[in-house]
């Protein structure tokens, strides 16, 4: 079996005010996986991400990146290879031009200037916002800011990209743009973790789903396994994805043969319907 790119062993984190953030988290993440992280508000998703990125330092447990255990000394290795796109772009954008903003990560990596410029141009082209280069971030719209915050991470060329609730503040058009970007990234075999409350999106996009509840991982498996598990859904106050629900109802009423096809997107569903009629 292949070695996981990132392993987390028995991670505990308590906030300064005594509030428990993580309470014994264990997980192995393999290269190229598309993982959706779900769980109600305050379940510990963001805390987990910040720990995995080495921003928060857990009091107990260990993080292993590509076989090396992370200590204080090689923390930077972790931050270099794992990038977080924060929930609120305004909490991430630090510089006063888009160019300087996207260049912030590569500059911190102490790359030569030509390389930084090249990466900034690449990242901006990747996100289709090359003409924003000289604009100050405070005159950008919400969706544009989100694009900039994603370009930030792309410019760092991290191996694992984490998106913390990326769809929350986006309108449908921008949400679609985001999914296109995710599609593009997954074609490049990037490992991705996305926290979301949108079960339909998780069902459609993810290969694997992790469910957080009160600082623990209570379930970890394929979308189908997770969303058919009543117990887990109830515990984390989640609903079944619409498509799964519809499919199961159709099967129950014997309108559709029980072939376990489980369409994951509208297109797949339409294809299935077409096949019957």
């Amino acid at each position: 079996m292949k070695q996981p790119i990132l392993s987390v062993r028995d991670l505990h984190y308590v906030y300064g005010n005594g509030q428990a953030g993580l309470d014994g988290v264990n997980i192995d993440i393999n290269e190229g996986e598309k993982i959706a992280v779900i769980g109600s508000n305050g379940a510990g998703k963001s805390t987990f991400f910040l720990n995995v990125n080495g921003v928060l330092k857990a009091e107990r447990g260990e993080i292993i990146y590509r076989g090396t255990t992370i200590t204080r000394k090689n923390l930077k290795e972790l931050r270099k290879n794992i990038g977080i796109v924060f929930q609120d772009a305004d909490n991430q954008i630090i510089a006063s031009t888009v160019r300087a903003e996207v260049g912030f990560g590569p500059m911190n990596l102490k790359l030569p200037k030509e390389e930084v410029i090249k990466r900034v141009d690449e990242a901006l082209t990747y996100m289709n916002i090359l003409d924003f280069k000289d604009r100050p971030p405070h005159y950008l719209s919400g969706g544009e800011k989100k694009k900039v915050s994603i370009a930030d991470i792309i410019a760092m060329k991290s191996e694992i990209i984490i998106f913390d609730e990326p769809t929350v503040a986006l309108d449908p058009l921008n949400a679609e743009m985001l999914e296109e970007v995710l599609e593009k990234l997954s074609r490049e075999e990037k490992t991705m973790l996305i926290s979301t409350h949108d079960v339909d999106f998780a069902y459609r996009w993810a290969e694997r789903i992790i469910v957080f509840c009160q600082g623990k991982i209570i379930a970890d498996g394929s979308p189908l396994e997770i969303f058919q598990n009543e117990e887990v859904l109830k515990q984390s106050n989640l609903k079944q994805p619409m498509l799964l629900n519809v499919y199961e109802s159709l099967v129950q009423k014997q309108l559709v043969a029980d072939e376990k096809t489980y369409p994951r997107s509208i297109e797949e569903f339409q294809k299935m319907i077409q096949a019957i009629s």
């Binding site: 924060f86 909490n91 911190n108």
Partner: protein, 299 residues
Amino acid sequence: MNEMMLLLLCGLLAAVFLLAEVRQHNHAHEGTHHRHKIGHKHGEGFVIDMHAYASKISHWNPTFKVILAIVTLVLCIALNNPCVSLAVLIAMAYLTMVKGGLSVSEYLSVMMIPIVFILLGTLAIAIEFSYQPIGQYNLHCGFFYVYTSQDKLKEMIFLILKVFAAVSALQMMTLSTPSSEIISVMRKAHVPTLIIELMNIIYRYIFILLDVYSKMKNSADSRQGYCDFRTSCYTFGGVAGNMLIVSLKKANVYYDAMESRCYDGEMVFLEEEKKVAAGQIIAAAIFVVLLLMLWWFTK
């Protein structure tokens, strides 16, 4: 240590906001017709910033512009000559409006910001008080006289001219150079890094907090939070307190976001290299020589 810096900064900014609020509040009572003037609702700093990005000479090398502005300013003050002042005034207006593409009315409105201070300040030089009509021109005011003379008036006008010329030189710089570039010029001039970093963060932070602030204010407004004076005061207190908490929290999140992108205590931003054209330097040199000659011949 850096986290402390950010926290401190937030506290500072919260204080600034209290002041801004008081000013805005006074404005709000003057009627709603101010509202639709873009930019003005956020105070003058905001407007100038906008002009800098729109300016057609914003692609000029910032160091060049800053040096030109400072040299002009120094000459203007050191030479102390009305002809030089006039020349500077015209040249800077030309750069800002013709080269930079700023409209005349916008330029005038920016230039008029300090007019009250200048008039009040220079008036004190021109006029004097006495019980007897001893001046060249006297104005009888009850039991005393306000008097002045032609020389004094001339002195006042020349002074006004000089101040305006100096202001126009600086405005040429601020109306064509985004703040981030001015900060980067200061960095090249070896201003301490702490100050440079603070300026960078403050600049970005101002816009974020303005945003938060206007949201909070609107939400309070929509719940009748400003219906009368008493309630307004109460709401203002609440919003101000909240602003402080929010800025503290934001500082924390911000620091996390910076750390996650490998920030290690040294903030360096990527800056664009803007080339200086040889023609620009020659033109600037000729301008300076002309000013000196003007001074020499009208001395």
